[in-house]
Amino acid sequence: MADPIIISASPHVHSARTSKKVMYDVLYALIPAFLVSIYVFGISALILTSVAIISCIVFEYLIQKYLLKTEITITDGSALITGILLAFNLPTNLPIYMIIVGSLIAIGVAKLSFGGLGYNIFNPALVGRVFLLVCFPVQMTSWPTAIENNLSIDAITGETTLGIIKEGLMYGETMTTISERIPSSMELLLGLTSGSAGEMSALALLLGGIFLIVRKVITWHIPVTIIVTMAIMTGIFWLVNPELYASPIIHILSGGAILGAFYMATDLVTSPMTKKGMVIFAVGIAIITVVIRLFGAYPEGISFAILIMNAFVPLIDKYFKPRRFGNKIKSKII
């Protein structure tokens, strides 16, 4: 026998599931939303996404090679996904240098300075987005409006659905008058509205989300809990006073709720590892999101909510453990 016999401990077989395959599943799930984005915003969506992906990968390479002098991990697919998710959370008419700055923050600060893939506490793409939102509030909140901008780079900017509602309510308007200016639920579902690159079509995002659940990359716990909790909370307010509060359907179909619930909050690294923990985490995100949307200064709040709950993940993991087999049952012998 030429080759030596391998001695290793059991198990001797593996499921053939790899981190890379997990990452690529996430990638495939994002394709429908990306196509909608290109259809709605045209070439600018393509530019935005390409710039974000390339700068994320390049920054990861440069930092690992020259600054950290560690193994280069750009092929594991995680930088690619950070790039896409960051792009999906940005308006398509954002100046290119801002996209690059956002990528640097996402990869350099949120990911690599914490130790790289698996060690980051906060969702890198969201850190990038929130950093840009805080630094460049004007550019970050002027979105191109849909369809008429298709294939034109000089976009007419408009506000998002939730932005219109928030402003309207501030000036004392009622939901009945505001509702004439906002897209219908069907338009929200299909994505024919204004907003960040990837948050457009709830339907396309749902499609990808279901794919992720079927492929067992994520479980239903986080997305479903977020959406149900948001629906209940906004539903209560809406029932109490429909003139002052938008309906749950508007809340769920706009403001990146679906994108956040299925793709951002479920980020494996920055979410809890037990199903009980996931539910708690998701309830927290939904509550904070609704509170920010209804009572805060920002019209949208899921990015902040996810980042805030990211900070609680270690604590959640510590206190919400799976039920141990045979625990809390007194043994008669011992």
Partner: protein, 442 residues
């Protein structure tokens, strides 16, 4: 809905290539190597000397205590030496080497025992026979069977569970035995029910063995006390605790035994051995072994004498194929990789698995991406990623607090980990240290 255990579990590729292969006999080996530590507990004490002549079935090492077992010679012949040889644990172990007497006809008779349904012995005799015959758990755990049957008077055991799950991929030894010796197994169950005064028995079989389920249902039609439960295919259902949970919804308490929830579990192979011991006074000197692997020419199931070197089995299936990189004693999930084929078959050897290049090597371990798969699949409700971490960092107190000792080492966590982290390796290591610390404390 088929029954199964509720928490965790995986479904690896079944690869039951040998399930339609009838159990064959292999030629009697010229030399047998019989280790004296074939069971969990105290090793047996050798009672023969070099050059002694022994008759088939004679006791050559006697039980070293209560949790121990007799060992009988599988062949008639001469003890050539008492030696230290490497067994499947990878360590050198005391072993009795016997050269088969080629002229002694008892070695070559094919045992033929007609079905004997009538149970004539009383409780005490039955238990004595089981003890004397050196019967241990043949599912792989090799726990001396008489210990499980030694019930105190105040016991509340009301159900006997027969483990015919065989959830390990590739292995088909129990499957074939159930098909070929169904009636005998039922008598074996009746013997135990008689001896233990139990009125309920359930045979648990996974639903990928529909033929065995049908055969046993047919065999139990006259005895309403014995039921056959078809179980959903899910690893590690053959684990005692998971099996009890699946069939009776009873949960063995942490650190407890099946007896604590009124159950005794025996493997079908063990039941057959008990039948042989009680009805025909046959000691445990042979067992069924599946010899399998994707590239083997004639993978099949065999009746093998204890002490037969594995190379004899490998020769019987057409030799080691080109590119063999791993030989496993047992199944792919919990079996032990062995160094060479000189290792002998022992009472716990349920299969020999030959693995080729592409499946044998492990992939490089990457960072944990916190996907939670290990937590989802752990049937004991543990957090393997955390246990590995604590073990790596040497935080043994916390490791103990996180219930590391309840790990059943099924390997589901390492199996699913997309980052190929050696979770179970670290958990085993941590367990061994925690065990030492606990012993030191007491």
């Amino acid at each position: 809905m088929l029954k199964t255990f509720p928490k965790g579990g995986i479904h690896p590729e079944e690869n039951k290539i040998t399930s339609s292969k009838a159990i064959k006999r292999i030629p009697v080996p010229k030399i047998v190597y019989v280790p004296i530590a074939q069971h969990i507990g105290i090793p047996s004490e050798i009672i023969v000397e070099k050059k002694d002549k022994v008759e088939i079935g004679q006791v050559i090492a006697k039980s070293g205590g209560f949790v121990s077992s007799n060992i009988h010679t599988p062949v008639a012949g001469t003890v050539t030496k008492l030696d230290m040889i490497v067994d499947s644990s990878g360590y050198k172990k005391q072993c009795i080497v016997i050269r088969t007497d080629q002229k002694n006809e008892s070695n070559f008779e094919v045992p033929d025992f007609p079905l004997k349904k009538e149970i004539t012995m009383d409780q005490k005799d039955i238990l004595q026979h089981i003890t004397d015959s050196g019967i241990v758990g043949l599912g792989g755990a090799t726990f001396p069977s008489h210990v499980k049957l030694d019930l105190k008077n105040d016991n509340k055991v009301d159900c006997l569970i027969i483990n015919g799950v065989e959830c390990e991929p590739y292995l088909t030894a129990d499957h074939r035995l159930m098909l070929e010796k169904a009636e005998e197994i039922i008598v074996g169950i009746q013997i135990l029910m008689h001896a233990l005064h139990i009125n309920k028995a359930v045979i648990g079989i996974e639903n990928n063995k529909k033929d065995a389920i049908a055969v046993l249902k047919e065999a139990t039609r006259d005895d309403k006390r014995i039921k056959v439960a078809a179980l959903k295919v899910k690893y590690p259902q053959g684990s005692e605790k998971q099996l009890i949970k699946a069939i009776l919804k009873r949960e063995v308490p942490k650190g407890g035994l099946p007896m604590d929830v009124g159950v005794i579990v025996h493997n079908v192979g063990t039941i057959y051995a008990i039948y042989q011991a009680v009805q025909y006074d046959q000691p445990l000197i042979e067992r069924v072994v599946t010899v399998t692997g994707k590239n083997l020419e004639n993978a099949s199931n065999f009746w093998v004498k204890i002490g037969t070197p594995i190379k004899d089995l490998v020769a019987e299936v057409g030799g080691l194929p080109e590119g063999t990189r791993k030989i496993v004693n047992g199944g792919p999930m919990m079996g032990k990789a062995i160094k060479n084929t000189d290792v002998p078959v022992t009472k716990g050897t349920s299969g020999i698995l030959v693995i080729s290049e592409e499946e044998a090597s492990r992939q490089e371990s990457k960072n944990c991406i916190r996907c939670g798969q290990c937590v989802f699949v752990c049937p004991m409700g543990l957090e393997p990623h955390l246990l590995m971490n604590l073990s790596e960092k040497g935080l043994y107190e916390r490791l103990s607090d996180e219930d590391v000792m309840t790990c059943i080492e099924c390997g589901s966590c390492s199996y699913v980990c997309p980052s190929h982290r050696p979770l179970l390796d670290y958990i085993r290591f941590g367990k061994s240290i925690v065990k030492k610390l606990n012993t030191a404390k007491n």
